[in-house]
Symmetry: C3
Subunit: 347 residues, 3 copies
Amino acid sequence: MNTLKAAPLALEGIAKYLDAELVGDADKAITGISTLISATSEHLSFLANPKYLGGLQETSAGAVILSRKNLALCPCSALVMDDPYWGYARVSQLFRAVKHESGVHPAAIISDSASVPASASIAPGVIIEAGVVLGENVILEPGCVLGQNVQLGDGCHLHANVTLYHGVKIGAQSVIHSCSVIGADGFGYAPHEGRWEKIEQLGSVRIGKSVEIGANTTIDRGALDDTIIGDGVIIDNQVQIAHNVIVGDGAAIAGSTAIAGSTKIGRYCTIAGAVAISGHIDIADNVHVKGMSLVSKNITKAGVYASGTGGVMENRQWQKNAVRFRKLSELAKRVESLEKGLAEAPD
Amino acid sequence: MNTLKAAPLALEGIAKYLDAELVGDADKAITGISTLISATSEHLSFLANPKYLGGLQETSAGAVILSRKNLALCPCSALVMDDPYWGYARVSQLFRAVKHESGVHPAAIISDSASVPASASIAPGVIIEAGVVLGENVILEPGCVLGQNVQLGDGCHLHANVTLYHGVKIGAQSVIHSCSVIGADGFGYAPHEGRWEKIEQLGSVRIGKSVEIGANTTIDRGALDDTIIGDGVIIDNQVQIAHNVIVGDGAAIAGSTAIAGSTKIGRYCTIAGAVAISGHIDIADNVHVKGMSLVSKNITKAGVYASGTGGVMENRQWQKNAVRFRKLSELAKRVESLEKGLAEAPD
Amino acid sequence: MNTLKAAPLALEGIAKYLDAELVGDADKAITGISTLISATSEHLSFLANPKYLGGLQETSAGAVILSRKNLALCPCSALVMDDPYWGYARVSQLFRAVKHESGVHPAAIISDSASVPASASIAPGVIIEAGVVLGENVILEPGCVLGQNVQLGDGCHLHANVTLYHGVKIGAQSVIHSCSVIGADGFGYAPHEGRWEKIEQLGSVRIGKSVEIGANTTIDRGALDDTIIGDGVIIDNQVQIAHNVIVGDGAAIAGSTAIAGSTKIGRYCTIAGAVAISGHIDIADNVHVKGMSLVSKNITKAGVYASGTGGVMENRQWQKNAVRFRKLSELAKRVESLEKGLAEAPD
């Protein structure tokens, strides 16, 4: 567990913060959060999934966030609320370890024409180019590079070594993790006489508010218009989002997924990990794509979608099947012949 | 769109630059490039795909690059040329937003034994180690790290936070986007008594001229010989190229593709996104591999190749099919039995 | 080949280092290592794979590491040992090009509360936050950022631009390549009334000793407990390891593989490239997963596993098969009908 410790919080204060009903010891001092199994008497835990009901009865936690229907089984103090998992999420934010003080470190390099409010926290090694505008309480960790005319809304937090190319705009309260690159050139070239003529990428990237982007993710700038990420979108690590993609509000994109150029992802879509989405595709709102699927055509209605052969099997068995896949069309034709043959057979 | 604006250009000058025939207002001032639909009267647009012919007739653009056959439908000034898409690409380069001035920023750290011409533009936070040799007009953006004895040809441009390990050589006019890593160790180990003995990677990486490499891409150094990227190659974001791979001139590799060690990609191959290519494979010139395919054997002749089950379907339908794939070999045998049975059936 | 040259080594010294039997010229000066085909008389080569036996007979190498059974065919000096490939690995380490001197560069920024021994080598642009503890002989290359309370064991080596978030612990002799990010937040959110409530990631990452991690790889911190990488694990480039994953000792994970949250990879597993592994999965020890496979269920016994349709075929043929996959369940039912029909047919 984390080596940085937050100050203990009284259970009563946590209950108020969560707007939860407190049953038990209001003065109980809580020093951290743990699973039901690992918790000690100083820890708050939670029960959000009925499969852990056994864990509730055996927990050593000082208190547990749970729903009313499980209260009777709770061996310790309880915080009762309708959505305990949401309660866990909110209380986890109280135990955040690292604090950032306002001010500009002398080893940051900031253009005279940049606008950096006194409330911002600018770490050493940060480089801010001309015309950049930062909102209040922005946090820039070491090594971040902000190209010309970048705009960050209030409360944005860039972890170490994030790169934003010129002209990128990010809404308030958004977070970007380390080594992600926003606004690099889209992959656009015109083939001409055996070589690739570069198409200068003249659009930018606009990211909404309350967006979180993982580590080592790339979002390219648009060719002419902008690449757009809506409000409240969450994007995991190692995701590739090509030029002129539009991601709708509240969408979630898991790790190592790749989205090709000019594709539109609907609002509240959830794209699992290692998915590949072709370019110039439209995906409706509320679509869920399962892990490692390929999306190569429009998806026009909400629902769950998948492709591929499913999970692994033992190699010998798999090889036999994979070999047959290579002649699947022929096999289908043979079945058609059999059907005709049988139809013609005397009865 | 980009917040950095280029100075307006007269249409006549653009026509000369493109070697295009100007039909209309030679003095027209052009301030930017847009699609046919978004363009205003100060914008240049282009028609390269017949499906946008309707857009041509309705465009508000000040001028359009198009081929002679579509000239009659153009409602504004025109630049006529055989390959309008190439024209668009070339003219886009005139509207590039960011300029880099020559000179070394005082917050760059450069070894005494490095060779940095006065024409180079070296940003703050750049670190150049011993023995590095830069060509004329090289641009190094903030946070780039060049290991010992790196060599960059004239006009190379490294965007922010690029890392080049020792000994990497890059030809003239090549561009590398942020957080890409060239020359990290190949993944080479000898298994010995239950542990992995590191094989020191003693080769390097040689990259040709006029190569462009996207963001967060990795190209490993060779084990003994070098990893080689040919001239005019274009590589997108999040691509992994393992040790001793050889990529032929003019090849294009799209995002999130992974190429394992010692594989050879032919000239002018186009590898789509999210492809995986096994190690020790030879791929002929002019091969196109479709997105999310696996290449696990040599490809000896030019053409289009693919693997996988195709794009997504609704999950229920997909599950039924995926379950059957697990017994595809058995199904094929049952068809064989049926064929035998029918052959033996009386007629 | 590398432009940095190591000093020549006498063959006798190499033989002692390898504990190999020397047959031939003990004073032979070796300046580098090459393949049998490329080697000149100053080079040491090796024969580890019988398919290169022809290369042995024609080699111009000054000496070759080989097993006793091939000694008779060796045209030059020989170093005889049971496992020549291991010999090659060990001798490659003698020819490592870059040396790092102890000391802290004045352009590194180190918190007063950090512990940095005199034996450490700290490059310019390194940023070390409060409470960091470094072991002896640690090497930090330019641009590395170590968050609060990071701990690195003796001999750890971070290549340029590595980011370690607060509280990450790494065992002795581990190596991390450029632009990898260890300890970024896991992808954890509670959906609530149409938005994603952030679950603060309060665990950390613990990495064992003698681990090597490639470039642009991400390993997320745990939600409550830690993400754990065992001793002697090797991980390639562009790998994504989500929160609370546990990777067993001696496992190997190749490039561009993604592992979702809370999954456990057994000891000595070898996961090939571009694999996707779902979350909350248990994989037994000594499992090998083939390239581009999906693992979506537990694997309870050692062995080789795969999924997918196998490698590419020509696009026309592939399309016919992929289309049939979409109705594979129906095809199977038609075969069942035929089987019933035949069973009912008169004989």
